[in-house]
């Protein structure tokens, strides 16, 4: 069981690439932490530093209160599941799972017991004598999980463990991993670029970009209260829509002004905007935060021309031309629009996001 702390950690490669910059992060014991970001954002490097597979160029990395910057991986009590599973091709499934215990000189009876327990839990008992090459992707994934489980490590690391699975399997494995975390009572650090995985699994999510942490928070924080446009854009499907405009205070309330749009901001938002009169802002509307406007409805309506209609089964995406901005909304199936139609959509004002136009930082959170 371990708490992991990064104190101003840096990772620079010999070629000058700055993979992780000034990372300070406190991972709680037994927490399920997800590192989320696009490829090349430094999330895997961060994970590898925890494992000891990459050394730390600067700052301090601590397990509980022990400095582990220079501890090689085999001296750290971590287990890891890899994207490609990385099963040993020359060993049977049993030996693959047992290997970590053998290396740590656990006695044979105990190894046998733990491997069989894990195999049972993962329902791969019948595969124990096979070679990895004889297994399907999903089975390999389970073996990889088993190999990490039996170790009963104090830190459980996962590097995009589900990316090589097909979509249906991925969903069911998510549930199993969540269950695993509950039963193992240990710290999980999980790397993914898949927002849905992050949102379902995490206690807390760390969103990274170009080696810098953009936001740390619960899935709810991250989705509902993004601190900057990067986080706001990275989560949500289709991604959040932006309209640039100006803030205007008039009478008691604040208004968002665009050449073709004036939105009266609700009180909850206005309260956070004092002294921002005249500021250039970027308005964010999540794709799902609109509805068909009732005829002659209030001011919170945007008008535009339908560019494209993309049915996605349960509902549909509406491509929407709004004064040169291409917006995408997720609307119900019953909304029957054709390309070229003029439509009006009402915006849920309470769920608007406002960012500084230049810095991208949220004005609300």
């Amino acid at each position: 069981m371990a708490r992991i702390r990064f104190n101003n950690v840096e990772k620079k490669y010999a070629n000058g690439f700055h993979a992780v910059q000034n990372l300070t992060l406190d991972i709680q014991d037994k927490e399920f932490l997800v590192l989320l970001g696009p490829s090349g954002c430094g999330k895997s490097t961060t994970l590898n530093m925890i494992a000891g597979l990459e050394d730390v160029s600067g700052g301090a990395l601590l397990f509980d209160d022990e400095l582990v910057n220079y501890t090689p991986p085999h001296k750290r009590d971590v287990a890891m599941v890899f994207q490609s599973y990385a099963l040993y091709p020359h060993k049977s499934v049993f030996d693959n799972i047992a290997f970590g215990l053998q290396m740590r000189k656990v006695d044979r009876a105990e190894i046998d017991k733990r491997v069989r327990e894990a195999a049972e839990k993962l329902e791969i008992t019948h595969l124990l004598d096979r070679r990895p090459s004889q297994l399907s992707g999903g089975q390999r994934q389970r073996v990889a999980l088993g190999r990490a489980m039996v170790r009963e490590p104090s830190v459980f690391l996962m590097d995009e463990p589900l990316s090589n699975l097909d979509a249906a399997l991925r969903i069911s494995m998510r549930a199993e991993i969540k269950e695993l975390h509950q039963s193992m009572q240990t710290t999980f650090v999980y790397v993914t670029h898949d927002q849905a995985e992050a949102l379902t699994l995490a206690d807390r999510i760390v969103v990274m970009k170009d080696g810098v942490v953009k936001q740390v928070g619960t899935p709810d924080d991250i989705y509902e209260r993004p601190e900057n446009t990067f986080v706001a854009s990275f989560l949500g499907s289709p991604p959040i829509n932006y309209i640039d405009g100006t803030l205007k205070f008039a009478g008691g309330g604040a208004q968002f002004l665009h050449e073709a749009l004036a939105l009266d901001l609700p009180e909850a938002i206005t309260a956070k905007l004092s002294g921002q009169d005249g500021r250039k802002v970027r308005l964010g509307i999540r794709a799902e935060d609109v509805d068909e406007a009732a005829a002659g409805g209030p001011g919170a309506t945007i008008h535009g021309k339908v560019n494209s209609v993309l049915p996605v089964g349960s509902d549909q995406f509406l491509g929407f031309d709004f004064y040169g901005n291409e917006l995408f909304f997720r609307v119900g199936k019953d909304l029957a629009h054709k390309v070229g139609d003029d439509v009006s959509l009402s915006v849920d004002l309470n769920r608007l996001h406002l960012f500084d136009k230049d810095s991208g930082a949220s004005l609300l959170w």
Binding site: A51, L53, H74, Y88, P89, G100
Partner: protein, 318 residues
């Protein structure tokens, strides 16, 4: 309603058939030409090794021995037991029956033995030195990795003849002339860089994540190499063993410099000595030549797959 099928104006089916036939014919002829080009000289060598001295001097030559004999080979394998044949007593034999056996014939089997010992030692040392180095270069990120690779790359292009003079003086001063150890040592210069490159190439082909998994599972670097990478690298190890062995078995220049007697002379040296002795029957020389090419050819045929992959790996990188 009936569908009418229009035939295309050109009979593509016929064209395809013609193209296929001419392609097959071209391949057949090409394959035959290549096979003859490669095999004919060797076949001639083998054929004449079974001919008697009388037959071998016929004009035009007999392509296939009319009266095949094993005498040439017998002479090699029994040369040590017989009374030494010298220029003087050689003339007592009937020249037409082919009795021109050189006094050095008895060196042939010891030379084969020397070649085997040298090659085996070179192979073992190559593995001991090359495997850990290749693993480090392929899987460990450390400062100076690129420099090390370039260094090894550079040593690979040093021409062997440039090593001869310094080697000779050092070995002479150490009193190691005419010892197989001088050969073993110097052959490392020509084999080790190649060994390292074959193995680096192979290890790089094995996924990094396998190495990481081993490390996280509790392996030190050495354990990861021994318990995970070695069992997986058998094909490249076979290639390394073959190359180191064949290179040592076939090497001539350095052996020519450092060996003097049958204590250390390798097969190529004894063979070369035959060719410069005009009194020796060609049929005997050819038999000796056949003995020298049989082991490498057997090895090449059996391990064809490994050789090809090894050659490409080592050459592309080196």
């Amino acid at each position: 309603m009936t569908d009418t099928i229009h035939k295309p104006a050109v009979d593509y089916r016929r064209r395809q058939k013609l193209a296929r036939i001419s392609r097959n014919l071209a391949i057949l002829i090409g394959a035959l030409v290549v096979a003859i080009y490669v095999l004919a000289p060797v076949a001639w060598l083998v054929s004449s090794s079974f001919q008697t001295e009388a037959e071998i001097v016929s004009v035009p030559p007999h392509w296939i021995p009319e009266d095949p004999t094993l005498r040439n080979f017998e002479a090699i394998f029994t040369a040590g037991n017989e009374e030494e044949i010298t220029y003087e007593n050689r003339s007592g034999q009937d020249p037409a029956s082919g009795g021109y056996i050189p006094s050095t014939a008895k060196n042939l089997l010891p030379a084969m033995w020397n070649s085997t010992v040298v090659a085996t030692l070179v192979v073992i040392l190559n593995l001991l030195v090359g495997v850990p180095a290749a693993y480090a270069l392929a899987k460990i990120r450390f400062m100076g990795r690129d420099a090390s690779i370039y260094f090894i790359l550079m040593t690979r292009v040093i021409p062997d003849i440039a090593l001869v003079v310094p080697f000779f003086l050092v070995i002479k001063n150490l009193g190691m002339l005419d010892s197989i150890w001088s050969l073993v040592l110097t052959y490392l210069a020509v084999t080790v860089p190649f060994t390292v490159f074959i193995l680096v190439q192979y290890f790089e082909g094995l996924p990094d994540e396998l190495d990481k998994a081993a490390r996280v599972d509790g392996c030190s670097r050495i354990q990861a190499l021994v318990r995970v990478f070695l069992p997986l690298s058998l094909p490249s190890l076979v290639a390394v063993v073959l190359f180191a062995f064949l290179t040592s078995w076939n090497e001539f220049l350095l052996a020519l410099m450092f060996t003097q007697t049958s204590a250390s002379q390798t097969l190529p040296i004894v063979l070369a000595a035959f060719t410069s002795d005009f009194t020796i029957s060609f049929s005997f020389i050819n038999a000796a030549g056949v003995l020298a090419i049989v082991p490498p050819i057997i090895v090449a045929v059996i391990f064809e797959r490994y050789i090809v992959s090894g050659l490409t790996a080592g050459a592309v990188k080196g």
